[in-house]
């Protein structure tokens, strides 16, 4: 096709006009995948990058750390009890002679494991439950949502304590407890999202082309709801770590010789008046920083999944 300038509508807007210029004009935006765009939006949030960095650090600290910083975390060493921070014990020792840094690693392992697993289970179940409720609509939706309402009306800390008293706490049971109390939140959220996606015009477009409901759900509703679910899951990790810490603080945490940050904090509070600050601050700061980091990442993910922000 001959390149006659005035017959070339739209193409002149970009520097190098391609050989043919269709009537609709060229597309001005650079081609980039959705993931790439999402990452660009995410990366603009500096706090989220810091948060992400911290989460990676905490994962390495808890799971790789013990290989480098070797401490005795199984049997009690009474001679080291209450030792002050020194070159040998960076943050001192607790009343049983466990090194605090090593203790933080062990506690981090269980806190993260329980947090991630509980968030995964509760979000998976909640999402399926919520999506089913939203798709079904009508009576089914009403019944399923009333069950959720009933769940939400039980004061969860109370429920957890009763369960923890009845059953011996272990990482597995704690994951179960937290998931049971947490799933109604994601369920409600995903149901709301499904309800709104169901009426979107692009879902209707499938119907106009003669497609079935299952196609609309799998190809259009689910991929668009996944963002909400992932964001919710991120917050759920933070919340689960917080719930676990709360339980640990109340004495229903992971039993010895393992531990979790909440139990460490609770333990340390016994010595609040005695000046053993290393029993209190490290665990408390860990909880706060980790929860805040997950929340920052969650916020940025929410922006990253918002296609309208990517458009700019």
């Amino acid at each position: 096709m001959a390149m006659v300038p005035h017959l070339d509508p739209g193409g002149m807007l970009i520097a190098e006009a391609p050989p043919e210029s269709p009537a609709g004009g060229q597309i001005q935006a650079k081609p980039r995948s959705l993931l790439r765009r999402g990452w660009e939006v995410f990366a603009e949030n500096k706090l989220a990058l810091v948060g992400l960095g911290f989460i990676i650090f905490i994962l390495l600290f808890s799971f790789v750390g013990p290989l480098i910083y070797k401490t005795q975390q199984v049997s009690v060493t009474t001679s080291n009890a209450y030792c002050t921070p020194s070159g040998q014990h960076l943050l001192g020792c607790d009343e049983l002679g466990y090194d605090i840094v090593g203790r933080l690693m062990v506690g981090g392992q269980s806190s993260l494991e329980v947090g991630l697993a509980a968030a995964f289970v509760s979000c998976l179940f909640g999402s399926i439950y919520g999506a089913a409720s939203g798709f079904a609509g009508g009576i089914v939706d009403s019944i399923l949502m009333r069950i959720v309402d009933a769940m939400l009306s039980i004061p969860f800390i109370f429920l957890l304590i009763i369960l923890a008293v009845l059953i011996h706490p272990s990482p597995l049971t704690l994951i179960g407890f937290i998931a049971i109390t947490y799933w109604p939140g994601p369920a409600r959220l995903v149901r709301g999202e499904t309800l709104s996606l169901r009426t979107r015009e692009y879902v209707q477009a499938v119907k106009v082309a003669g497609g079935r409901g299952s196609r609309a759900i799998l190809r259009h509703v689910m991929p668009n709801a996944i963002g909400v679910i992932i964001v919710q899951a991120t917050f759920a990790v933070a919340d689960s770590i917080l719930i676990l810490s709360g339980l640990g603080f109340l004495g229903f945490g992971i039993p010895l010789p393992s531990t979790d940050w909440g139990s460490m904090l609770s333990n340390g509070l016994n010595y609040m008046e005695d000046g053993y600050w290393w029993l209190i601050y490290p665990a408390g700061i860990m909880i706060i920083l980790t929860v805040v980091a997950f929340n920052f990442v969650g916020d940025a993910l929410r922006d990253a999944f918002e296609t309208r922000l990517q458009r700019r």
């Binding site: 509508p9 009537a23 004009g25 003669g210 497609g211 296609t307």
Partner: protein, 692 residues
Amino acid sequence: MAPLLEISDLRTEIRLREGVVHAVDGVSFSVEPGETLGIVGESGCGKTMTALTIMNLLPTGGHIAGGSIKLDGQEIQNLSEDKMRSIRGNDIGMIFQDPLTSLNPTMTIGKQIAEAVSLHREVSKDQAMDRAAEVLDLVGIPRVRERIKDYPHQFSGGMRQRVMIAMALACEPKLLIADEPTTALDVTIQKQILELIDDLRLRLGMSVILVTHDLGVIAGRADRVAVMYAGKIAEITDTETLFARPRHPYTEALFQALPDKAADAGERLYSIPGLPPDLVNPPKGCRFAARCRYVTDRCRDEEPALAGEVAGHEFRCFYPVGPSERAQTSRLTQYSQSTPEPELAGPRIGEELLRVDNLVKNFPVTKGAVLQRRVGWLSAVADVSFSIAKGETFGLVGESGCGKTTIGRLVVGLETVTSGTISFDGKDLAKSSARQYRKERRNIQLMFQDSYASLDPRMRAGTLLREPLVIQHIGSRREQTQQVAEMLDKVGLPRSAAERYPHEFSGGQRQRLGFARALMLSPQLIVADEPVSALDVSIQAQVLNMMKDLQHDLGLTYMFISHDLGVVRYLSDRIGVMYLGKLIEVGPAEEVYLRPAHPYTKGLLDSAPLADPEVEKAKVTEGVTGELPSAIHPPSGCRFRTRCPRAQEICVSVEPPMLPFAGEGHMAACHFPLESPIGSAIPSATQAGTPY
């Protein structure tokens, strides 16, 4: 007399992530006392930014980079926020586009207006309230004393806009800035509001800046017009001169892209190619150069100044179009003679394709969250019958809430009918089995209004276009991909578009994509629901031309739903006019436009603003008074009787039947039609001597 507002070389910049947007770039104009200045342009050309700059209400990141704004001789661009506050609302009033979001939903309207009064005047609460009642009365709110205690949601859209105007006028500003004041409103209400603004301007002696994208609105209301393009004024002069002798190629192209004018002449629309430039890195030379048909190298290198040949008419072009005001040769005529647009063949109208008989659709109105009690029915479509022949375009017009979209959704099967039949190609659609029905779906496809909402944001264009084929199991994967590529060619998109996501396209390109998807199954009938109402005039022309071309090439039948009478007239062979769920008039397009039989059709036509100042200013008819009644309790007898100037007792009790009129297939449902029906003793308007 000194101008009330004088703006010179105003420049506004907005800092964004990707750079600085030069939203207003050296704009100068003045507004005389008592004058209406219209600012027109397409979206993103800086007209709203100019208005916001005057008010110093710029969004975050926005600031005035240079120039001056003088109000009554006093420079206001550098005033402190405190001093600016005393000018805003007091000396300059502003009306925004959306009256719902501009009003506080938790305050009564009386209090909101009183608040505006007491901000600027030392008055007691009661005095402020009295003033509120006074201005509400001024803008034509009925029963002011009762309604002053109502909340915004208790008012209709038109009434809310009146409240907004009342609020803007509460302190008797010298200048009223109306930013797209009627864009969200129906034509009949738009006419009422525009008339109100005009009337108030005369009575209160204020100046008005009317910002709009609608050339028709400008034609009838503005004394002078500034045409903006890409942050600059392209042309500025008095309204008559601008419409009669535009000199800037952009202004000329805008007029030629208007469907009202092309429909008269039966010619193709001129569409401005391409898109407006990016205001972050504006082009070096003339901003319009990339889209101009008269462009030369000089235009690309050098920027023309805003200048004119005679006083009061300035434009920014080296090679102005039209006859020079110093009498020179006309290049416009030369151009149109040298490249005549190809004559479009007339529609090959064949046998009946779609037939709708006594169609009724009621939506239940429910109350309560858990146990949904039905408290009534909303009558969206009430006993509508029409048919569409193969190859023709049937236009369905009416105001919002008249049921035109519901009919479209019923025809494509997105809603189920309450009663009545829809038959396609002789077969009743409701009678086919579910499996068969899904297959038949392919023959009737829908083109959505909002292409952004109707394209899945997480799918590439290629996948989106392929989906209908996948659903209907047509062809192998390779054949499907091939078909997608061919379809992209047809709708004028580059083949590389298949790899892109919907948000990477411009509005017009997305609408092409939406159209392409509707065409993928090679349907016979396309239901197009307001396909161009979200687009700018120049882009609208591109899409309309494409639709017309493809109708011709592929032998398509269109059911075209729109509130824009100009667009419908341009595209349609036959037109149906709807009012509150009823089809009140149907007939050949020209017949309905030139000799409307139903008073509502006439009112609707009179309300629609035309881009012709002479016609527009000569209009004396009232349009349609009042507002659309509720569809839950539609009026008895003729549904239009509550707003009809000709209504009599029979209209309350007896529903008017469809009567035939001169012109093939021209029917209207009215007891007192404006034309005399064929073979009937009912007197027409002229015979009865009823003034209308």
